[in-house]
Symmetry: D3
Subunit: 162 residues, 6 copies
C-alpha cells in the first residue's frame, strides 16, 4: 500500500496536550499526519490562523512526518486534494461522539472513499478542550499541565501572567 | 513505514453486513486485517468457533489481505504476537461508545504501544447487531438484508426456513 | 381515516403506574390500544402470562377501548394481523432510547408500513421499571406509590407482606 | 374518535428530507398534519418565514391532509387553538432526546391535555439537520441527497451554484 | 471535624424551584451553604447581579445557614478563600453530567483538595432550567409551579403579566 | 451539626483503586464512612462476603474513620439504622449516571430524608470496574495499577500468578 496520510482537522485555538496526544498516537498508525487548521473559524478565535500555525509548528517540533497546513471549504475536498483517504479525529466523551458521528456520516455522504478514523483521547486529557483552557487562562488559573510551553506563554500574553 | 496490520476482534456470532462494512472500509486504511474470533465466548454462542470461522471465510471471499484467526487470553497479547499495533473496532451508538471507551483505556493500560482505532458503522447498518439478527431469525423474520447468504442459510438451518 | 389502533407491547411483569400512564395518554391519541403481553419472556418472569393478563385487566378496569392480548413471534407480524399500523412505546431515559431506536429501526426494516410511536413517561414515573419494583418488593420495601393495588397484593403474596 | 390532528412545529430553515420523512410517516398515524413554522426564530434564520412557507408548500406538493402555518407565542396555546391534541416531533439521536424530553415535560406542565408524540427519523436521514445542510451548501458541497429540489435551488441562490 | 461548608455556584438567572430543592437537600448534608452568584455571566443575564442576589435572599428566607455571595475569577480560588472544601452541584440529565464531569475534573486539576459533590435534582424539577423558565415567561406562559413568588413577580415585570 | 456519616454501599468484588479514591475523597467531606458490602450479591461473586470484608479492611488500613460492614434488605433501611442520612456513590460515566439516577430517585421515594451524594471518580480510575479487573486477571493480565496489593494477591490465588 502507498504511504498512508491522515488529515487531522480542527480549530486548534489553541492546541492542547489532548491534541498532541492524538497526533503522537496517530503517528503510530499513519505514515504522515497533516494538521489542518480550519480557516473559516478565524473570526471568533482567540489566536489568528498564523499564530495557531506557529504554535503548532513549535509544539510538534519539526517532526518531518507532521505537516501543518490550513484549509477552507469542504474538508473532504481538502483531504482528496492532498491525496489522503483518512480523516483523524479524537473522541473524549459521549457529547463528542454524537457530533463526530453526524459529521462523519455527512462526510461519507459527500465523498464515500474517505474514511474518518477515531482514537480515544488518553485518560489524563479526557476532560481537556481548547475552550476550557481559554476559560481557565482568562481567570488566571494555571494551564501548565494542559498545554505545551509555547501556548502557556501565548495565553499569558493575552490574559496576563498567571 | 512497515505494512500496517489491524486486528479486528469480536464474537462474530454470526458475522453481519455491519461487520463486513467495517472490514471493507478498514481495508481502505490498513494493509491487512486479521479477523480475530474470540474463543472464550464459545459457550453461549449460537455457532461454534469452527462454524464462525467458516462463515467469515466465505463472507470475505478469500481476500488475500484478510486473515481469519481465533484468539483467547488477553487481546493485547494476541495483537502483539501478530506483529500488529492496531485494534480495529466499529462504533454504532452511544452505548457502544462507553463500553469501547472502557475497553480501549484498559488495553492502553495493559500495553500502551497498541492503539485502538474506530470507524463509525455506515448508516444502513447502524442498528444491526449479531444479537438482534439472531432474535429476528429465531422468530422467523427475514434476515436477507442483514447478513450475507452464507449466514442466512446457516440461520435457517438452526431455526427453520424463514 | 379508519379507527386508529395502537399495539402497546411489553412484558408487564408486572404492570406499573408508568405503563398505565402511557396507556392513559395513548388513549388521548389513538382510538384503541391493544396491550400485547410478550409470551416468550415467560420463563424468567415473576408472574405467569395468565397472571399478568389478569393483573392488567383489573388495572385498566374494563375500559372498552383497551384490549389485553398475548403474542409470540415477530411483533410486526402480530401488529399487522390485528389490522394495526402503530406500535406504542414509552421512553424514560437515554438508555431506553438506544434500545428503542434499534428495535424501531429493525421493525421498520421488517415491515416498513408499521410505525413506532413514542410517548415520554410522565415526570413522576420516569425512574420506574418492572425490575426495580420487583427488587423493592423482594426487599420488603413499599411499592404503594409505584403499582396499582392489584399488583401490590400480588407482590405481597409472592414476597410476603411489606 | 374525531379527526386526529397533529401539529409538527419547527424552524424548517430549510426543510430537509428528514423532516419530509417524519411528515410522510406521521400521515400514516394522523388524519391531518399542521406544519407550524416558528416565527420567533426568524432573526437568525437563513430564509424568511414567507420563503420557508413557500418551500414547504412546494415540498409537500399540495397534499390536502397537510396544512402549512406559522405560530408565535407558546406552542401549546397554538396547538389548542387549532383544536389539536398532539405535537409531533422526530428523534434522531441521544442529544435530540434530552432536549425533546425537557420540552415535552414543560409542555405537559403548561397544558396537560396535549401529548407530544415522537417518531424516530428513518435510517438514511438520521444524521441530517437544517444546520449541517446550510453548512454544506455554504461550502459548495452537494445537497442533492439531503433536501428536495426547491431547497437545493434556494440554497444555490443564496450561496452560489454548487 | 470542623463545620462543613459547601459552595453552590451558578448564574441563578433566575433561581428556580430546582435550585431551591438542591439547597434544601444540601442543608441535610452540610452545615452551611454559600450560594455563589457568578459575576462574569452578568452581560447576557436577564437580571443584574444585584437583582439576582435580592431574589435569592428572599427565596431562601433568611435561613442563617445559607449565605448569598458573588464571585468572579476561578471558582476553586473563591472556594478556598471561604475556608470551604466542597463545591455543591445538581445533576438533572445526561447532558448535565458531561459538562459537570469536565468542570469537576478541571477543578480537581486546579486545586486537588477541593471536592465537587453532586445531588440529583428531585423528580418534579428534573426538566427545569433557568433558560426554559425565561423562555416560558417571555411567551406569557405560567411559571407559577417553576419558580418562587419573588421570581414570578420579577418575570412578570420584565415580560408583562402572564 | 452532628457527626456526618456517609454509607458507601457496593459489592466490592473486589475493591479497586477506583473505590479507594472515592473513600479517600469522601473522608474530606464526611466525618465517617461506613463501607457497606451488599450480602445479597454473594452468589455470583468471585470472593465471599468474608473475603471481601477482609480485603477492604486491609486496603483501608485500619483508618478509625472508616467502618466496614455488611447489609441485606433495603439500603435505605440500613442507612437509617446506622443513624446516617447520606449514601455516597461514585460516578464514572454516562451509563453509571442513568443507573445511579434511577436508584437515587427510588431511594428518595422510599425514604425521603436520606440523600444520595455523588463524587466523580478521579481521572486515572474513570475506566475501572470490578468486572473489568476480574476479566483482566482471569486472562493473566497485570492488575498491579488497578487494585491494592491485597487484591492482587487474592486474584493471583484465584486465577494463577500473572
Amino acid at each position: 500500500m502507498n504511504k498512508q496520510i491522515a488529515v487531522y482537522p480542527g480549530s486548534f485555538d489553541p492546541i492542547t496536550y489532548g491534541h498532541l496526544d492524538i497526533i503522537e498516537r496517530g503517528l503510530e498508525v499513519f505514515d504522515q499526519i497533516i494538521i489542518a487548521v480550519a480557516r473559516n473559524s478565524e473570526k471568533k478565535s482567540l489566536f489568528s490562523t498564523a499564530e495557531r500555525i506557529g504554535h503548532i509548528e513549535e509544539a510538534v517540533d519539526n517532526n518531518p512526518r507532521v505537516i501543518v497546513d490550513t484549509f477552507d471549504g469542504l474538508l473532504v475536498d481538502y483531504v482528496a486534494s492532498k491525496g489522503a483517504k483518512v480523516i483523524l479525529r479524537g473522541l473524549r466523551a459521549v457529547s463528542d461522539f454524537e457530533y463526530e458521528f453526524q459529521t462523519a456520516q455527512m462526510n461519507h455522504n459527500l465523498k464515500s472513499e474517505i474514511e474518518t478514523v477515531f482514537l480515544i483521547t488518553s485518560v489524563p486529557y479526557g476532560y481537556l478542550s481548547s475552550s476550557i483552557v481559554k476559560e481557565v487562562a482568562s481567570l488566571q488559573g494555571s494551564v501548565e499541565s494542559l498545554v505545551p510551553p509555547v501556548i502557556k506563554k501565548a495565553l499569558e500574553k493575552k490574559f496576563g501572567k498567571t
